[in-house]
């Protein structure tokens, strides 16, 4: 009797799997809860990617409207987004801070050397710890943070020139106008 229970195991696993798949049909993989909007951006204090030893701290950016952009050298979509950000950085509208997520320093640096560096600096989140605080589920994701350090906007997936122009820039201008 006990032995036949073992033979039921594949069936049991499959039933669990089927349930997950069924739920999955009604979930939108692109839709993500953004409980962080309107809340203070989680603190971080971590080494920068470019200069080991130099620290990047969220509090240093208080008083500015800025963009936190997560990226990684292994991320396919980031390759698509990167030239858009490089162009956007040239306008000098706001500082962009990178968060190099679960990456190696060598690969990360090579990526920046190859594709250009739109970031004022990049925080080096080797363990993915900061990513957890920010609820990052996929790279790239970006957060627009206001002068008081409150998250105002979250972008999931790569920015496109249209998104920047039509959504982000007007928002930045509004936030910049506030004291």
């Amino acid at each position: 009797m006990k032995k036949s229970i073992v033979f039921l195991l594949p069936m049991v696993v499959f039933v669990g799997l089927a349930w997950v798949l069924y739920r999955g049909l009604y979930l939108d993989p692109r839709e993500v809860p953004t409980p962080l909007i309107g809340k203070p951006a989680p603190d971080f204090h971590v080494e920068s990617l470019e200069t080991p030893g130099r620290q990047v701290d969220r509090k240093d950016l208080l008083g500015k409207v800025w963009l936190l952009n997560t990226w990684a050298s292994w991320c396919v979509a980031c390759r698509q987004e990167h030239p858009v950000l490089v162009e956007f950085a040239k306008t000098g509208l706001i500082p962009i801070v990178g968060l190099d997520y679960k990456d190696s320093r060598v690969e990360g640096m090579r990526w920046l050397a190859q594709f250009g560096n739109p970031y004022q600096t990049s925080a080096f989140d080797e363990s993915g710890r900061i990513g957890i605080d920010y609820g990052i589920y996929a790279v790239p994701e970006s957060f627009l943070i206001d002068k008081q350090g409150i998250i105002r906007y979250k972008q999931i997936g790569p920015f496109t020139p249209e998104l920047l122009e039509q959504t982000l820039v007007p928002l930045i201008q509004r936030l910049n106008a506030q004291s």
Partner: protein, 658 residues
């Protein structure tokens, strides 16, 4: 008119599949010979009907019948003929029809090559496949009809996705589907054997060639897909752990385990429960892959179809097929006896470890692919799993499997002595250690992963050669050549496939370890150094292809002062689609590829250019093709044909191997 014929053929096929899926199986249970005898003609009729439907779709594509919605979606007037044919599987509806076409092809093949099988077995096998075909037919007719008419007429179609307008894409999907639909045969054999209660060595011998042929196609299919990604996505990667790739890789892993497990079942009568479970898994993973790709539960760069109605249907189908077969397994498998006993140190043990490792690898890929979905459906966080996860879990699982690949084929069945194997392999071990140290030193940069990869590759190759030599050495008399020719093809195929794995490992490790990637801004006349070569940019020219405009870069590749190659990376602009496509120029070589692709134009006539040197990268696909050649070699083994001849004389065909 033509689309209506196609649609009608599919409806008739549905009725035939319903008949095929019920009467022969019931007949086998009740001993009704007439009902069982329906299996073969019904399977053949089904094949003919599906061919008619496929022919109608091809005729509509070639004839530019844009009143057919599917044709209007995936084709256009200017599309060159070969791509009009490839447009058959360029979209969701056509892909499903291709799936069905290949399934019915395999059913036809079984109906032809099954003269040596007992009547009950044939009835059950074709019946099970008929039920699978029924599911797909209903899916196509109810949710994904390729023959649906447009409400409004259009002058021209929307054209095939430019990414798919590529010779690799003409061959990749049919090969891949031949592979993973091919596992339906092994699956049907397993279900038939569970139903009939005759899981034995004979069953394993019948299943083996079908499994090997499916595995061979799948290997080629995955290989083509990877090569396609390498030269069309424009940045030189060859595997991305994308859900759609994983969908084809999981059945491959399970199928590889199945092939090895079948060997034990056939030769030693052992691992029956394992084998039957693996046969169910291999096909279930193929179906699951179809679900993942077609339902849109996971977004991926491929994202072909997103429609919850389709998703619900496939899931229901999945639940019936997989759930049903696992339930049958739970009911019948406990009664299957164990095979012959074996000691801890034996070929059986090594093959068992191989099975466990491959199955664990497939489970890891499945987990990585579904993990975001699992957490999401439990209402927990959303996250994504990328290459770091797969690289981390895959290497530790594959290293022991690759190590055993050297020893396993030399080990004896039942019981073997480790010191004896050690003595036979000492030269192979020595040679591979030396190679593992020498290669990184010659390349001038030591890296642990490269040394490990080379060590394993050399180990597999050297031990395979030791194995071969022990069989053909003239020491105990006889001529080398004559002995080589007398060796069983199955054995040679095994060695060949293992050497393919070795070549594959050489490719992946050396590319990873020593590739040079440069993204540089180049004006006319600029040069860039790359490994042993220098590339010089001579400017660009413009022109037009059949349905696109192109911009072509002109590069000379120099070694010293001598021009050794000229390369022409292109940008293709399709009028119907937005973004221009990148067509990389590749100068392939046994020791490495030069890879140039055009990025973006910058000021003046300068361009951002990606110039890569990819050492040994062609060994990746070469290795896969050698593996597939091993499969083909094993298929030509005389044994399978002999087995047939022996039993053809048996008028009732029911006492084989009893």
């Amino acid at each position: 008119m033509i689309p209506e014929i196609g649609n009608f053929a599919l409806m008739v096929a549905t009725a035939v599949a319903l008949l095929l899926g019920t009467l022969p199986i019931v007949g086998a249970a009740r001993g009704n010979v007439r009902w069982m005898a329906m299996a073969r003609p019904a399977a053949r009729l089904l094949f003919v009907l599906v061919i008619i439907a496929a022919g109608c779709l091809i005729a509509s594509l070639v004839g530019n019948d844009f009143s057919d919605m599917y044709v209007a979606e995936v084709s256009s007037r200017a599309l060159p003929l070969p791509y009009k044919l490839a447009a058959f599987w360029g979209g969701h509806e056509g892909s499903m029809l291709l799936w069905l076409l290949i399934l019915s092809f395999w059913m036809f093949a079984v109906s032809v090559f099954s003269r040596h099988l007992p009547r009950e077995m044939v009835a059950r096998i074709l019946g099970v496949m008929g039920l699978v075909a029924l599911g797909f037919l209903l899916f196509i007719i109810l949710t994904s009809d390729p023959f649906e008419r447009m409400a409004q007429l259009v002058a021209d179609g929307q054209d095939l996705n430019p990414l798919l307008q590529d010779p690799g894409m003409v061959a990749h999907p049919p090969m891949l589907y031949m592979g993973y639909v091919g596992f339906s045969v092994a699956f049907a054999f397993a279900i038939a054997a569970l139903l009939g209660g005759n899981l034995d060595a004979t069953w394993a011998r019948w299943s083996r060639p079908w499994t090997t042929v499916a595995w061979t196609f799948l290997t080629v299919g995955i290989c083509l897909g990877s090569a396609w990604a390498y030269y069309t996505l424009g940045w030189g990667g060859w595997w991305f752990w994308d859900p759609v790739e994983n969908a084809s890789f999981m059945p491959w892993l399970a199928g590889t385990a199945l092939m090895h497990s079948l060997a034990v079942t056939e030769k030693r009568g052992g691992f029956k429960v394992w084998t039957v479970l693996l046969a169910i898994f291999a096909f279930s993973l193929s179906l699951l892959g179809t679900f993942l790709v077609r339902s849109g539960v996971l977004t991926s760069v491929h994202a072909f179809a997103s429609d919850p109605r389709r998703g619900v249907f496939i899931l229901l189908f999945l639940a019936v097929v997989i759930g049903g077969s696992l339930a049958l397994f739970a009911w019948r498998a406990p009664r299957v006896g164990l095979g012959e006993r074996f000691e801890l140190i034996s070929r059986e043990t090594m093959l068992l470890v191989n099975n466990v490792l491959f199955l664990a690898a497939a489970a890891c890929v499945l987990l990585g692919t579904l993990y975001p979905l699992i957490l999401d459906s439990l209402g927990l966080e959303k996250l994504s799993v990328g290459p770091p996860y797969f690289d981390t879990v895959f290497v530790p699982l594959m290293v022991p499997a690759l190590f055993l690949m050297g020893i396993g084929p030399l080990a004896r069945w039942r019981q073997t002595s480790l010191p004896q194997i050690g003595a036979r392999l000492k030269w192979a071990a020595g040679a591979s250690v030396i190679t593992a140290i020498a290669v990184p030193l010659l390349e001038g940069r030591f890296s642990f992963m490269v040394a490990l990869g080379v060590l394993l590759a050399a180990w597999i190759f050297a031990s395979s050669m030791t194995n071969l030599w022990s069989r053909i050495s003239p020491r105990d008399g006889g001529q080398v050549g004559a002995k080589l020719l007398a060796l069983p093809r199955g054995y040679l195929g095994m060695l060949c496939a293992h050497c393919g794995v070795a070549a594959f490992i050489v490719g992946i490790t050396l590319v990873k370890g020593y590739e040079v990637e440069k993204d540089v801004r180049m004006a006319v006349g600029d040069t860039v150094a790359l490994g042993p070569y220098t590339a010089r940019f001579n400017g660009t020219s413009e022109g037009s292809g059949p349905n696109y405009l192109y911009l072509r870069g002109d590069f000379d590749v120099l070694r010293g002062d001598k021009v050794v190659a000229t390369m022409h990376p292109e940008k293709h602009k399709f009028p119907s689609k937005g973004e221009p496509m990148t067509d990389a120029a590749i100068s392939p070589g046994l020791l490495g590829d030069l890879y140039i692709s055009l990025g973006e134009p910058v000021a003046g006539s300068a361009w951002v250019v990606r110039v890569y040197y990819k050492p040994f990268i062609d060994w990746i696909w070469g290795g896969c093709l050698i593996m597939a050649a091993g499969g083909a070699l094993a298929l030509s083994d005389r044994r399978y044909r002999q087995a047939r001849r022996q039993t053809e004389f048996d008028p009732y065909g029911t006492t084989v191997g009893a």
